[in-house]
């Protein structure tokens, strides 16, 4: 479980995150949504420790990440996996080497066992056939799947995904969403997804927080979204005709 208590972050005296409070539970896909520039990427970077908030508490299963020492932070970092918007695979390594990288760094297992674990992760994302290819030789969707395999190689407790569907077609996005959701349940991880893809919100949003101009404007589940009266949330989620129609159908189903 990850808990945020009164998190504040500012850049050059401009507050970007203002008093964010939230709880992200184990075994659930938690989504952070919001418009571009609302502060959701800054929030994600604060949570993973790439940025340091000015105020507040950040608790990883009751361990305060902001006040702990370097050694304790290192331990928590090894419990984290992250999927970046750009996949962030190491260009100079093959797909298999990318997945093996965290194992080679932190596992004391034999090479055979490390390779077996990496192959298991690649198999989990259906990419065993691409093991000897370089990131530049595979598609964007495959790169994201390799990033997922790398992120789960050390069986993390916390999985962070920064816009995992950006630049992907709807069908591939669906595959990535389902994969993240299945892995979250399977490993009982605390998963945080930073997205503005409404398909993801409606598909896998078990817990959603909506960030608006640095504030946490709303929180709830994908079911709550259809019945919410929050105007700012509705303006954001149901900006397109398609999603307005989806809402009408869903509301009718709920009432009926």
């Amino acid at each position: 479980m990850i808990e945020l208590k009164g998190l504040w972050k500012s850049f050059e005296k401009k507050d970007v995150l203002k008093d964010i409070n939230a709880i992200f539970e184990n075994g659930k896909t938690n989504l952070i949504i919001g418009q571009s520039g609302s502060g959701k990427t800054v929030l994600m970077k604060c949570i993973v420790g790439l940025l340091t908030p000015e105020k507040g508490e950040l608790l990883y299963d009751d361990r305060n990440f902001l006040t702990m020492g370097k050694k304790e932070k290192k331990i928590i970092r090894r419990e984290m996996g992250m999927i970046f918007q750009s996949a962030a695979l190491f260009d100079s390594m093959t797909v298999l080497e990318n997945v093996m990288f965290p194992l080679n760094m932190f596992s004391n297992d034999t090479l055979r066992n490390r390779t077996r674990q990496a192959m298991f992760c690649l198999d989990r994302v259906n990419l065993t056939e691409a093991q000897y290819k370089y990131p530049g030789e595979i598609s964007g969707g495959m790169q994201k799947r390799v990033a997922i395999a790398r992120a789960i190689a050390l069986k993390p407790q916390y999985l962070f995904c920064d816009e995992p569907n950006s630049g992907l077609d709807p069908k591939t996005s669906l595959v990535i969403d389902e994969l993240i959701h299945d892995i979250t349940t399977e490993y009982n991880m605390t998963t945080l997804i930073n997205t503005h893809d409404m398909n993801s919100v409606i598909g896998i949003g078990e817990k959603i927080i909506y960030i608006y101009e640095g504030y946490k404007e709303w929180e709830g589940s994908k079911e709550d979204i259809f019945t919410s009266s929050n105007q700012k949330l509705n303006d954001f989620i149901f900006a397109s005709d398609l999603f307005r129609k989806v809402k009408e159908v869903e509301v009718r189903n709920i009432e009926g």
């Binding site: 993973v48 750009s86 962030a88 190491f90 760094m105 962070f160």
Partner: protein
């Protein structure tokens, strides 16, 4: 601060050593060709220029070999060669690390709990400091071979006179001073270029700018260091 993080204890020695070997190949072994080529031709051209410009009945015939040797040993093979390598290797280091920064590969390392500066920069500095003195030695030999070739194939002067000049009043310390200087130059090239790459913010334009800035800065620092080191070692 970056240097403090760079010289920390590696996370996994095995992985850092593997990186060191890769960097040795990429930065050192892959530069042998260009070093040999440039040094060979410069050695030949210096011989021709000296012969044509200082030829006089009052000058001994060995002067050409003597001056060629001094230029190659004292300045060209160490300082000038390192200036050339600052362009080739320095831009490579800055653009590689810069691209890793803008494509979030460095963030990925940090999130895994890896000291990215240590993992990426230390092997490059170690590889450069190991490889460049070897390249300097290769450069000296290639320059001398070039000088001989200008005698054998262009008939510019007698190879025997050149050989006599090359051996005349030879001071072994000059070779060592060139090698000692190259250690410092190697450190400058690797650390300055890595700093510019590591601190990039933005996109491809900034990576390009960091690459150019790294070459300019390391070249200027090499020149300053050359002045100071020459005074200290030879003065």
């Amino acid at each position: 601060m970056l240097m403090g993080r760079t010289f920390g204890r590696p996370e996994r020695l095995r992985m850092s050593f593997k990186q060191f070997i890769n960097e040795m190949e990429k930065l050192g072994v892959n530069s042998i060709g260009i070093v040999l080529l440039i040094s060979f031709f410069i050695g030949a051209v210096i011989t021709i220029q000296i012969k044509l410009n200082i030829e006089s009945p009052f000058m001994p015939r060995w002067t050409v070999g003597y001056v060629t040797r001094e230029i190659m040993l004292l300045e060209f093979s160490s300082a000038i060669m390192c200036l050339i390598l600052a362009g080739k290797v320095g831009s490579n280091i800055a653009s590689e690390i810069g691209t890793m920064r803008v494509t979030q590969q460095i963030d990925a390392l940090e999130i895994m709990g890896i000291n990215s500066a240590n993992y990426l920069i230390l092997p490059k500095i170690a590889a450069m400091v190991t490889a460049i003195p070897v390249l300097v030695t290769f450069s000296i030999f290639a320059g001398i071979v070039g000088a001989f070739c200008s005698c054998w194939f262009l008939g510019i002067m007698s190879a025997v006179d050149l050989e006599y000049g090359l051996q005349y009043m030879f001071v072994e310390w000059f070779i060592w001073s060139g090698i000692i200087k190259s250690f410092f130059f190697a450190f400058i090239i690797a650390s300055v270029s890595a700093f510019f790459g590591y601190t990039v913010e933005g996109g491809s334009i900034e990576v390009g700018k960091a690459s150019t800035d790294s070459v300019v800065t390391s070249s200027v620092l090499i020149l300053f260091a050359d002045l100071v080191l020459t005074k200290l070692l030879m003065g």
